[in-house]
Subunit: 391 residues, 2 copies
C-alpha cells in the first residue's frame, strides 16, 4: 500500500508557509506501515494540480491532498478532484447548515463564499470529523482513493487520526490495529540505550510484535517508541502497557515522560502532587528556564517566580535566598563555573534547597551559547525531577 | 524560466526532519522572478530519484537537488545525476585535498568514505562556495541544468546566494542584478501601511522599479520589502537606499529594523550606543522577555538581569526598584491590569524608569496566553525603543 501526499497552495511554493503537514502525515503513515515514496507541493493552479494528483494516483494506491478546501476562489481542490473522478460537484445543504451553525456559534455571520465549501464531488463521502468549516472528503477513483483534507494543521490531524489512517489500513487489508507510545528519556546516549535494551530488542525481533525504535531528538532527549499490532485497540494498548512496564524496569528513572509530555510539564506535575512551590535563580540560563516553566503554569500557582543575573557567586546561597524571597518550598539555582572554580569549561553547578535541605549536582555541557543554555535548562529540570522522585 | 526543487532524503518523507530548505529556496527564487511550480520530496532510492529528477527536468528549465551529497552509502545524488547526464563520475583529487584539510583544521581525521564526496560527474562544474565537506555541483543537461547542493541549510544557502541565483538569472537572460531589503515594522496593520504608502505604491507601479511588497509575519511584525533591479550591485543598492529613505519618511518610527534585525537586537544596540544598562521586572511575561534579551547579549553587559513574579502590584514602583536592585540605568516593568484597575481584559501596563524619569504606556492585547505573552514582549520592547529614540 503506497500513499502519496500532495500539499496544495502557492504560499507553500513561495516559502511564506513551511509545509509541516506533509512531514506529520509522512510520520503517521510510517507508523502504520504504509509507504510514502513521494511528497509534492503544487500551487493553486487547476492544470498543475490536476496533473500532479493524476501522476500521484498513477504511481500510488492513495493520495492525500492537503489544502485548497477554503472558501475563496483560489481554493479549487474540490473542482480538481471532481474533474479527475469525471463527476460533477453538488452542494450538500446539510453541510451548508453545519457551516452556518459554526459561524453562528462563534457569533459571526456566514458569507456566501463559505457555501462553496459544501460542494462535494458526486460519489465522494464526507469525512466524519469536521473541526472547522471545511469538510474532508474520501473520493474513490477506481480501486484507488483520493483524500482531501484542509491545510489547517489541527483540522487535518483530526481527520487523519479519526478516519484516514484507519481507512488506509482497511484498504491495505490490514485488519489489525496499530498503536504506539513514546517513552521520553534524558540522560543516556542512543548507543547506551541500545545496549541497555539489547536483550529485549533481540527477543522482540524474534517475536515480531511489539517493536521498539529510537529517535534522537536533540534537546528533547531520545525517544523510545513502542509500536504494537493487535486485533483491536484495547488489545494493542495492553501490549503497549506490558512493554512499557518492562522497559521502565530496564531503563529506570531516565524515562521522564510519555508521548507529548515535556520535562517542565512533568516537573510541575510532581511539584503539584507534593504540594510544593518553586522559585528559581538563573545565573546562566537568562530567563529560558523561567519562560518554559511559566508557559506551562498559567496562574503561577506552582512556579512562583525567579531572578536572572549573570554573576551569581554562590549557587547554594542563591538557591536558599531565592526560596526565601519568594516564600517558596523549593529554591533552585543554576550557575556556570567561574575561572577560580578550577573546573573544565562548560561546567554548570545546579543547586536545590528543598525546605532547607540542600541537593547539589555538577554537570559538564557542550555546545555554543544557545545550545549550552538549553542543555543547562533541561539538565537542571531533570535534576529537580530526579531529586523529587527520590524524596 | 522555471526552476523545480527536489528535496532528497528518506528522513524527510518519514517526517523526522521538516523540509525547510525548499521553502527558503522557493522564497529566494520568487524574489529574483524565477517561477517554481513544483517542489518534490523523494527518498534515498536510485530509481525513484532518477525518475523524479528526469520528470522535473522535463517540465522545468532547471532543477535544484537538495541533499544526498554526504559521505554515506545512502548519499547517491552524485550517481543519479551522472546517470541522467549519461556520464561517469571521476574523483577530483583537489577536492579530496580540500576535504582532508577541513577535517584536519578541526582536529579530526578524514575517513575513507569522505572521498566519495569528491566524486564529480564528467562535465559538471564545482560551485565555488564550499562551506562544508560536500561540494555543490552545476550539471548541464542539454540546454537545461541540474544544481546539486547539500541538505545542511547554511551550506545550501551559501551556494544559492553565492552562485545559483545569479547563474539562474544569467540563464534566464536577465542581465540586471536584483537585490532586496526588508524594512521591519511594528505598530500598524497591513491595510494601515498600504494606506500610508498608497501614493508611493502608485508611483512605483507606474515606474516599475523598485517594487514594494508587504508580508505579515505575526509576532515579528509586518515586513516591507523593497526589491530593485539595476545594471550592477552598486546601482541596485543605490536604488534601494533612496527608496528606503522615502519610505522611512512616510512611515516614521514604526520601522524598527532592517532585514534580519530583531526588535531585541535593535533595542540592545540603542542602549549600548547610549551607554545605558537595563534591568526588567516581568509581571506577566514569565521570563520570555529576559530570555530574548539575554540570548542577544552574551556577556549581559547591557541587559543586567531581571525578576519574574506573577503579582506585581505597582508597575511604576517595580520599574524603579528593579533599576536600583541591579544598579542599572533603565528599569522596565510589564504587568497585566488587575480586576480593580477597571481596564478591559487584555490590558497591559508598561513602565520605564530611565535614570529616575518615568515613562508609561498602556496597551490592549489580543490572543491566547502564549500569544498574549509574546505580544506583550514585543510591545514593551517597542515602547523602550521609541522612548530611547525620543530621549
Amino acid at each position: 500500500m503506497r500513499c502519496e501526499v500532495v500539499a496544495i497552495g502557492t504560499e507553500l511554493l513561495l516559502g511564506q508557509i513551511v509545509d509541516t503537514n506533509s512531514s506529520w502525515i509522512g510520520e503517521q503513515l510510517a507508523l502504520v506501515g504504509i509507504d510514502s515514496h513521494f511528497q509534492v507541493k503544487v500551487g493553486d493552479n487547476f492544470e498543475r494540480m490536476e496533473r500532479t494528483i493524476r501522476h500521484a494516483l498513477d504511481r500510488s494506491d492513495a493520495v492525500i491532498c492537503c489544502g485548497g478546501l477554503g472558501p475563496t476562489q483560489d481554493d479549487i481542490t474540490r473542482e480538481v478532484i471532481a474533474a479527475i473522478m469525471g463527476v460533477e460537484l453538488h452542494r450538500d445543504e446539510a453541510v451548508v447548515a453545519k457551516i452556518r451553525e459554526m459561524f453562528e456559534s462563534r457569533g459571526r455571520v456566514m458569507v456566501d463564499n463559505n457555501r462553496r465549501q459544501a460542494d462535494i464531488p458526486e460519489g465522494a463521502a464526507l469525512i466524519a470529523e469536521m473541526p472547522g468549516t471545511a469538510p474532508g472528503l474520501v473520493c474513490p477513483v477506481g480501486d484507488k482513493v483520493i483524500y482531501a483534507v484542509p491545510g489547517v494543521p489541527h483540522e487535518m490531524r483530526t481527520m487523519m487520526e479519526g478516519t484516514i489512517l484507519d481507512d488506509l489500513q482497511r484498504r491495505a487489508g490490514e485488519t489489525a490495529v496499530i498503536r504506539s507510545r513514546v517513552l521520553r528519556t534524558w540522560g543516556n546516549s542512543e548507543s547506551g540505550l541500545a545496549q541497555d535494551l539489547a536483550e529485549r530488542i533481540d527477543q522482540l525481533d524474534a517475536q515480531g510484535n511489539p517493536t521498539l525504535a529510537f529517535q534522537a531528538s536533540g534537546m528533547e532527549g531520545i525517544k523510545v517508541r513502542i509500536t504494537a499490532k493487535a486485533a483491536d485497540e484495547a488489545a494493542a494498548e495492553a501490549v503497549i502497557a506490558a512493554e512499557e512496564e518492562l522497559i521502565r524496569a530496564l531503563l529506570g528513572d531516565i524515562i521522564f515522560g510519555v508521548d507529548e509530555q515535556s520535562m517542565e510539564t512533568v516537573v510541575l506535575g510532581m511539584l503539584k502532587e507534593r504540594g510544593l512551590t518553586l522559585a528559581v535563580a538563573e545565573g546562566l540560563t537568562g530567563g529560558v528556564l523561567s519562560a518554559r516553566l511559566s508557559d506551562m503554569d498559567d496562574t503561577m500557582a506552582i512556579f512562583r517566580g525567579g531572578s536572572i543575573k549573570d554573576a551569581l557567586a554562590d549557587a547554594g546561597q542563591a538557591a536558599t535566598s531565592i526560596r526565601h524571597d519568594f516564600g517558596a518550598d523549593v529554591g533552585l539555582a543554576v550557575v556556570a563555573a567561574q575561572a577560580d572554580d578550577n573546573q573544565p569549561p562548560g561546567t554548570v553547578f545546579m543547586h536545590l534547597d528543598i525546605a532547607g535541605r540542600q541537593h547539589v549536582q555538577m554537570v559538564s555541557l557542550p555546545g555554543d551559547r544557545a545550545r549550552f543554555r538549553n542543555y543547562a535548562v533541561i539538565n537542571v529540570l531533570n535534576f529537580l525531577r530526579q531529586t523529587l522522585a527520590a524524596l
